[in-house]
């Protein structure tokens, strides 16, 4: 019998290996529970199919961006919707680890603290990249053309990964503070409202009054609109920079907050 010896010293190579193992555990865990990830793919795709048929004639009204079909318009929204609904999965798993005591065993073992969080959130980020790729392939098969080409598709995928890190980081903060899966999952209605009160399914330029103002100032709109420009107008460094910059900033902010919350939790132990 052989035993795997885990490097006890908190050297960088050890931390990376530990983070890799924990990320692998988190990804395998997620893959083994289709009920956890399938709705996150099914519902956005169903909504996309329904809206494409519902708004097929509405896209010709003045003020609507020039698109061949509603699918062109909604592609980035479908990707972000799928990512937003699945991004807290890793955080919910961390809360479960806290609830059943596995987290306590991890922190008493010589595992790098950073790798505990990175391991958890990396699974969601990898899955977000996969979701983005799959949705784009499916919509391209149904006639969508990404005018910005492969580079734009890559930006959409990276944005999806960064958004998963951003939302997942927020979920980690809630998981570490509450230690409750239920509280982490209660973020779903908030994300739902954020997605709907934005330019996700309709151009904000066609929204009137206070609702239009709220939608225009919603960070989800700030991410979706440049991605949409990459799909329907073509490649633009400005659009790519805006989408990546906002999601990168969100990811850095929320994951830093998660690490700070982790340190605070460990101090309390």
């Amino acid at each position: 019998m052989t035993a795997t010896v885990v490097e006890a010293s908190p050297c960088r190579a050890g931390a990376i290996a530990q983070a890799y193992e924990l990320a692998r555990r988190s990804t395998v865990n997620m893959w083994r529970q289709p009920q956890a990830w399938a709705p996150g793919l099914f519902f956005p795709l169903m909504l996309t199919a329904v809206y494409a048929a519902q708004f097929a004639k509405a896209i010709h009204q003045p003020g609507f961006p020039p698109v061949d079909s509603y699918l062109d318009f909604v592609l980035p929204a479908s990707v972000l919707q799928a990512v937003a609904f699945g991004a807290t999965g890793g955080a919910a798993e961390l809360a479960k680890d806290i609830e059943n005591g596995f987290f306590d065993r991890l922190v008493t073992s010589p595992v790098s603290r950073v790798s505990i969080l990175v391991g958890r959130i990396a699974g969601s980020a990898i899955f977000a990249g996969f979701q983005a790729g799959l949705i784009m392939v499916l919509l391209i098969a149904f006639g969508v053309t990404i005018k910005g080409g492969v580079a734009s598709a890559a930006v959409i995928m990276i944005t999806a990964v960064l958004l998963a890190l951003g939302i997942g980081g927020l979920g980690l903060v809630l998981a570490l503070r509450s230690g409750s899966q239920e509280i982490v999952q209660s973020t779903f209605p908030v994300l739902f409202v954020l997605l709907f009160v934005s330019g996700t399914f309709w151009p904000t330029s066609l929204m009137k009054g206070w609702y239009g103002n709220v939608a225009r100032h919603n960070p989800i709109t700030w991410i979706i609109e440049p991605l949409r420009e990459l799909v329907i107008e073509g490649w633009s460094w400005g659009s790519a920079g805006r989408a990546l910059g906002i999601t990168f900033g969100l990811a850095v902010f929320t994951t830093s907050l998660a690490f700070a919350t982790m340190r605070a939790r460990l101090r309390r132990l």
Binding site: Q54, K57, A58, M207
Partner: protein, 269 residues
């Protein structure tokens, strides 16, 4: 041995007894809801959000040729109300599932009352419960600028449709709960609700839809129920706009009710 036929007096007494059990079961559901308000809050908040989000996001639909009203909110209010009623209607099934899981339902089965009343009682609770989100969403919508040119008859059609939808999803929920005897089985009913609602004329009239959705919406009985509920918001109430909705409600309630009753009869305490 043959049973002696009931005398008129015994029959009246039996009906009075059945009515007493029905009233008690309905009152029990209402009492449970008063004690746990969280049971009804989502069914109120969700349609309120939908009225705001759909009317705000898709306000420009009113400019599309063929859209039947210049006020998008008039189009969206009945849709949101029926969504709230459908979730309120599941209350019957939710309460029964809790009773089955907790063992209380076995005691009800052994009680001296006829089985159909055990099914009809919770449905009475569902019907009453649906009046709460219907009224609150209606008041909010009127405050937000919706109007009801159809007057009292239009209002009556809306309430009949809302109670009908609560009953039909209540019976569907009971059919699943009697079959699987678990609260989790209600997640299947949610898929039915989304299917019925999204594949209909919920957000966009039939004339503006295209392709497969138009065919699905034409065949979907919910389309007629939505027409029934919407009449008063679009103009005057007509018999032509009323009877298909009433037939759809009666057909679905009787169909789902028959399945639910068959499953109920198979339960052995």
């Amino acid at each position: 041995m043959t049973e002696s036929p009931l005398t008129t007096g015994q029959r009246v007494s039996s009906i009075a007894h059945d009515f007493g059990v029905f009233r008690a079961l309905t009152a029990r559901g209402m009492m449970r809801m008063r004690r746990i308000p969280a049971l009804i809050i989502p069914a109120i908040m969700m349609p309120m959000f939908f009225v705001i989000a759909f009317s705000g996001s898709f306000s420009a639909l009113a400019n599309v040729e063929g859209f039947p009203t210049p006020r998008v909110i008039n189009w969206m209010v009945p849709y949101a109300i029926l969504q709230g009623a459908s979730f309120a209607g599941m209350g019957a099934a939710g309460g029964t599932a809790t009773d089955i899981e907790g063992g209380f339902f076995d005691r009800l089965l052994l009680a001296p009352c006829r089985r159909p009343i055990l099914m009809v009682g919770p449905l009475g609770y569902s019907a009453l419960r649906s009046l709460i989100p219907t009224t609150l969403v209606l008041l909010l919508s009127l405050a937000l600028g919706a109007d009801l040119p159809g007057g009292a008859l239009g209002l009556l059609c809306l309430y009949v449709a809302a109670v009908g939808v609560a009953l039909l999803f209540g019976t569907l929920g009971l059919a699943f709960v009697y079959k699987f005897r678990s609260l989790k089985s209600l997640s299947i009913v949610q898929i039915f609700i989304f299917g019925f609602m999204f594949l209909s004329i919920g957000q966009v009239p039939l004339a503006l839809q295209s392709g497969w959705l138009q065919h699905a919406a034409r065949l979907n009985p919910m389309t007629n129920i939505l027409r029934l509920s919407r009449q008063g918001f679009l103009g005057h109430v007509t018999w032509h706009g009323t009877w298909p909705g009433l037939v759809a409600i009666a057909g679905l309630v009787l169909g789902f009710g028959a399945v639910a009753y068959r499953n109920l009869r198979r339960i052995v305490p």
